[in-house]
Amino acid sequence: MIRYLATRLLRAALTIALVVTFAFIVLRLSGDPATIILGPEAPPEAIEAFRHNWGLDRPVLVQYFDYFRAILRGDLGISMRDGRSAIELVGERIPATLALTIPALLLQLAIGIPAGVYAALHQGKGFDRAVMVTAVFGFAIPSFVLALALVLVFSVNLGWLPSGGRDSWMHAILPIITLGLGGAAALARFTRSAMLEVLGRPFIRTASAKGLPWAAVVRGHALPNAAIPTVTLVGFLVGSLIAGAVVVESVFSWPGVGRLLVVAVSNRDLAVVQCLLLLVAASMVTSNLIVDFLYGVLDPRLRHGARAGA
C-alpha cells in the first residue's frame, strides 16, 4: 500500500511540473502581454521598459528556469494589472468557488448514486426508464443553456431566485444546480451500469444461495464492488466541476476563480493565469490521488498486488 501510494505521489508531482511547463509555453506563444496591457498605441520606449521590468526581454529558457525556481519557493509572481501578488488575488476568490463546487459535488453524490442504485435494482421498470431519460438530458444539455433556462424560469418568470451576484445564500442556488446537475446525471447512469454489472456476477448468486436476504446481498456484496468503478467517475466529476465553474461563474456573475481566469486570460495577466492553472492542476491531481487511495482501500486485489511489487 505504501509503495502503491508513493508511485502515485511521484506521478502526481510530475504531472504538475508538466502543467507548469505547458502553461509557460502556451502563454508565451499566445501574444505579447506588453502590447495588450499597454495598448497598441503605446510608445515603443514604454513597451520596452515594461518588458524589461517584467523580465520579458530575457532569453525564454532563462525566464522558464527562473519561473520554475520561483514556484518551488512558493512565489507565483505579481499581477501585471494591479501589482498585487497572484497568490493573494487567487486566494481571495477561492472561498467563493468552493461555496459552489462543494455543494454541487454533494448534490451529485446525493442524487446520482441513490438514483443509479435504485434504477439498477428495478431495471426496466418505470423509475429506471425515467432516470435514464432524465440522465441523457442532464448529460447532454450544455451548462450555459441550462443556466439560462433556469434563470428564465426561476428569476425572470417566477421571480423566486436572483439571477446573479453573491449577496445571500439564495444567490448560490441556481449556480449550484447548474453546476451539479450534469454530473448527477452522469453519475446516475454510471452507478446504474456498475451495479448491473456486479449484480450479474456469480458471487451474488452465492450470497443468495447462502440464504442472505436480498437487501443484505445488495448492501454487503453488490455495493462494495460497484463502488470501485464509481469512485473513478467521482474523480472525473471533481475535475469537471472546476471546468464547469468557469462557465457558471461567468453566467451568474459569481466572483470566484473561474471568472478570475476568464478575465486574467483576456488581459494576458501571466502570473495570475499561471497561478490559476497551477491551482486547477493541483486540485485535479489531488482528486486523482484521493481516487487512487480509495481504490486501495476498496479493492484488496490492488492493495496486495502493489505489496507484491506489481
Binding site: 456476477r201 448468486r205 452465492t206 443468495s208
Partner: protein, 337 residues
Amino acid sequence: MAGPLIKIEGLRVAFDGAPAVRGVDFAIHRGEALGIVGESGSGKSVTWLAALRLLPEKAVVEGRVSLDDENLLEVPVERMEHLRGGRVAMIFQDPASALNPVLTIRRQLGEALALHRGLSGRSIDAEAKRLLDLVGIPDAAGRLKSYPHEMSGGQNQRVMIAMALAGNPDLLIADEPTTALDVTIQAQILDLLQLVRRETNMALVLISHDLGVVAENCDRVAVMYAGRVIEEAPARDLFDAPRHPYACGLIDALPTLDAPRRLVAIPGVVPDPRRMPQGCAFSPRCAHAAPACLGGVPELRRLEPGRRIACARAGELDLQPAAVVPPVEIARPEVTA
C-alpha cells in the same frame, strides 16, 4: 424408509418463452448421492437454480419442489432464505468468481454462520476455523483474514464447501464443482465431498457433464437431455447397460482403460429450445429413430425397479455400447415452433 428428502415434480422453466426445463421429476432420499449428467444446455443446473429460486425474475417456473412437506416454489421469501443454506446448500462451478473478491474469507464464511447458527463475534471465528480445518485448508486461522484472490482455485472451492456446510444442510447441490479445476485438484475436491457426506450423512446432488466423475461418486444417475430426464438408473446399471440411445452415446464417448477402442461421438448438436423437434427431442441425432419417435414426447416410464427411461422404443431396443451406427433419417413434417 421415510419419504424422499426432496421431490421435484413436473418442473418447467422458461426464459422469455424459450423452455429450458420441460417437465422434470425426481426424488432424493436422505444421505443419497444423485448424479445429474447432460450436455451444457440440457437444463441440469437450471433445474436446481429454479428449485432454490435463484433464477432471475424473468424466468417462469412451474411445478412443485417439495422439501419434506413444503413446496419451495410457494413458501414466503423469508422462509426460502432460511431454507437456502440452512437445509439446502449449493456450490458452483468457478470458485474464484463465486466468492466475493472484496470480502475476507472470515466475512463470507461468518455470514453463513451468523444466519443459520446464530453465532456472533468470537464463536464465529472458532467455528469458521473448525470448518476450514474440516475441508482441509492448512493454517485455517491465518486463512480467515485472506481474500479469495490470495488462494488457489482448489482452496477457494474448499472454502465454498465450508460455507455450504456452515448451516448443517440436509442436501448439498454441487453444480459442476470441479469443472474449473486442475485434474489433480478435481479428485481432491471429490474426495472431500465424499468425506463430508460420510461424516454428516448429507444428501448430495452432483451436477456434471463428466460421466466419470458421476460414476465414481454417486449411487444413482439421472441423464438429462434438452430439459428432460431421459434415463435414470443406479450408477452401475447405467454404465453397464444404458437403455436410452442418448445415455448409450454418452458412455460410448467415454474412453476406457481396460479395452481401448475408438471413441464414438454423438452426431449433431443439442436442439434450439425455441425450435424443438417434433416428438422425442433426441430423435434427429438418434441411430435408432423410428416413426414411432415422432408420435409425441416420450414419457419417463419405469421399465424395471429403480430404472426409468424416456424412449418410445425402450422396450424393444437392445443397445450395444460402442457400436458405430449413423443416425437414421426419418421423414418428418416441417418443424413448427
